[in-house]
C-alpha cells in the first residue's frame, strides 16, 4: 500500500510484472476510486466547458467521451481530463486525484454566470476499471443485459453491473480495450467481487498502481506531474490536438496557446529505449553527445518489450541528425535510442 493524493492505494497486489502481463493478455482489475469526479450540469454546461477547457465539449453527443485538458491563462496544463456527456445538460469530468481541488475551483470560477452548476461528486463515486482483451467477455454476463458491443471506444452509458447501478464507459489508461465502472461507493465491493469471481478463470487479476504506470507508459499516455504540469502546454507533450482553436468564442489560455502553436517548440516529448537493464527514472538528464539537452519524465522496465523504456523532454535539435543519445543514470551515461511513441499499440 502507498499514500497517493490522500488515498491509501495498492502499489501492487502480488507481482507488478505479472499484473502488467495479465492486462495485456487477459484482464486486470483496478480500484481507481481516488479519481476526482466533478459534475457540470445545466443548460449552459456545454458552453461553460468550452470556455473552461481546451476541448469543444458542447458538440459532444450524449453518451460519448473526450480526452481534454484544463489550462491556465498562460497555457500551462492544470490537469488532463476525461469528460463524459451523460445527458443533454449533464457532463461528468474526471480529474486526477491530486488536481481535483484545483480543477473544481477553476471550473467553478470559469462557469460563473453561465447557467451551469459545478458539483464535486468525488465522494459519491467509486471507480472500478476492468482492462484487457478479456475485459468485455468478463463484464458482459454481469452487465444486466447491456450490449457492450454497442459501447464504442470513448463512449459510456448508464446501466447495471452485478445488479448495481453504474455508469459504464469504454475508457481506460492501459492501451487495452476495457471498461470503467463508476458506481456508488457502497456498491464497489460487490461489483469488484463479482468481477473477480467471473474473471479469475479467464486470467483476470487485481492490478495496482505500479502496473498501471508501466501499462500507460508503454501506451505512450502522459501522467500529470511527469509529462504534464503547469510549466508545459499540450503542444510540448505532443497533444496539441486537444486544443480546439476552431471552436466559437473565447477559452481560457487561447491567446497563449495560439502563440505557442505557431512558434517552434523549445522541447518536445520523445520516447527512449535504454540499452541496459537499468531504469532511466523521472528527473534523470538526457545527454546528446555528452551534454544535457533534456530530462526524463517517466521511466520503467517495459514488461511487453523486455527493455527499459522512458519518456523524456528533449530539445528538438538534439533528436535530429546523428547525435549520440544517452541517459545519465546516477553518474553513468547509458546509451539510449529514440523510439516512436507509443511503445506499444494493441492489435485491433
Amino acid at each position: 500500500m502507498t499514500s497517493f493524493a490522500g488515498w491509501q492505494m495498492p502499489l501492487r497486489y502480488a507481482s507488478e510484472t505479472a499484473e502488467h502481463h495479465a492486462v495485456r493478455r487477459a484482464a486486470g482489475l483496478f480500484d481507481l476510486s481516488h479519481m476526482g469526479e466533478i459534475l457540470v450540469n445545466g443548460p449552459g454546461a456545454g458552453a461553460a466547458l468550452d470556455y473552461a477547457l481546451t476541448g469543444f465539449l458542447s458538440v459532444l453527443r450524449p453518451g460519448r467521451a473526450r480526452y481534454t485538458m484544463i489550462c491556465a491563462e498562460d497555457g500551462g496544463v492544470l490537469d488532463d481530463l476525461v469528460v463524459y456527456r451523460q445527458g443533454e445538460d449533464e457532463f461528468l469530468v474526471i480529474a486526477n486525484a491530486a488536481n481535483t481541488d484545483v480543477v473544481l475551483a477553476s471550473l467553478r470560477e470559469r462557469a460563473a454566470g453561465r447557467d451551469a452548476q459545478v458539483i464535486d461528486a468525488t465522494g459519491d463515486y467509486a471507480l472500478v476499471a476492468i482492462q484487457g482483451p478479456a475485459a468485455a467477455g468478463i463484464l458482459a454476463p454481469l452487465a444486466g443485459g447491456l450490449d457492450l458491443a454497442a459501447i464504442k471506444y470513448y463512449a459510456g452509458t448508464f446501466g447495471e453491473v452485478a445488479g448495481r447501478k453504474a455508469w459504464v464507459a469504454r475508457t481506460g489508461y492501459t492501451g487495452e480495450d476495457g471498461f470503467e465502472v463508476f458506481c456508488r461507493p457502497e456498491d464497489a465491493e460487490p461489483i469488484w467481487s463479482a468481477l473477480v469471481s467471473q474473471g479469475t478463470p479467464a486470467g483476470l487479476v487485481p492490478a495496482g498502481l505500479a502496473a498501471r504506470d508501466t501499462l500507460r507508459l508503454e501506451a505512450g499516455m502522459p501522467l500529470y506531474g511527469n509529462e504534464l504540469g503547469p510549466d508545459v502546454t499540450p503542444f510540448e507533450a505532443g497533444l496539441g490536438r486537444v486544443v480546439k482553436f476552431d471552436k466559437p468564442g473565447a477559452f481560457v489560455g487561447r491567446r497563449a496557446l495560439a502563440a505557442r502553436a505557431s512558434s517552434g517548440p523549445v522541447k518536445h516529448l520523445v520516447g527512449l529505449t535504454i540499452q541496459s537493464r537499468r531504469i532511466a527514472r523521472h528527473g534523470y538528464p538526457v545527454l546528446a553527445d555528452g551534454k544535457t539537452h533534456g530530462t526524463v519524465t517517466s521511466g520503467a522496465p517495459s514488461p511487453t518489450l523486455g527493455v527499459p523504456i522512458a519518456m523524456a523532454y528533449l530539445e528538438p535539435a538534439a533528436g535530429e541528425g546523428d547525435h549520440v543519445l544517452a541517459v545519465g543514470i546516477r553518474g553513468e551515461a547509458v546509451p539510449a535510442h529514440l523510439t516512436d511513441l507509443p511503445f506499444y499499440r494493441r492489435r485491433p
Binding site: L11, A210, T214, R277, P301, P308
Partner: protein
C-alpha cells in the same frame, strides 16, 4: 513472511549466512516485498574489499532503486552471476537461488569468523520488520 532462524540480519534488510570464513549475502523476503519486482542488480566485483554498513551495489526494482549494503567486512570471492540474466530470482527465492555475493571474512582469535557485533538475530529482525509495519 519467511525469516530463516539460522541467518544473521541487518536493519538494512540484508541476510548473512556464515560457513567457516565464507559469508553469503542476500536481501530478505521483507525487502523484496517492499521493493517489488527486482529488475537489475549491480554487485561488487570479485576481489573487491567491502566494509560492513557501506554501500557495495544497487538493487533496482520497477518503482525504486536502493543501495545494497555489505553486512560484513572482507573480500568478495564470488557473485551470483545468474542474477544478471534473471534478477527475479531475488523475488522468487531470496534466501537460496537469489543470493547475491560471498565474502571471505577475517577470523577472530578463537578462529571464529569476525562478524560485526550489531548483526541481528532472526527474532530481532522479525521484531524490526513488525514495528516498521
Amino acid at each position: 513472511m519467511s525469516v530463516p532462524a539460522e541467518l544473521h540480519y541487518t536493519p538494512e534488510h540484508e541476510w548473512v549466512s556464515v560457513e567457516g570464513t565464507s559469508a553469503s549475502v542476500g536481501i530478505t523476503e521483507y525487502a523484496t516485498q517492499q521493493l517489488g519486482d527486482v529488475v537489475y542488480i549491480s554487485l561488487p566485483t570479485p576481489g573487491a574489499t567491502v566494509t560492513a554498513g557501506e554501500p557495495c551495489g544497487e538493487v533496482e526494482s520497477v518503482k525504486s532503486v536502493s543501495d545494497l549494503y555489505s553486512p560484513v567486512d572482507g573480500e568478495v570471492t564470488e557473485v551470483n552471476s545468474e542474477l544478471e540474466d534473471d534478477p527475479s530470482l531475488v523475488n522468487a527465492e531470496p534466501y537460496t537461488a537469489g543470493w547475491m555475493f560471498r565474502v571471505r571474512v577475517a577470523q577472530d582469535d578463537n578462529g571464529d569468523p569476525a562478524l560485526p557485533p550489531d548483526l541481528l538475530s532472526a527474532a530481532e529482525y522479525e521484531e524490526l520488520t513488525k514495528s516498521a509495519g
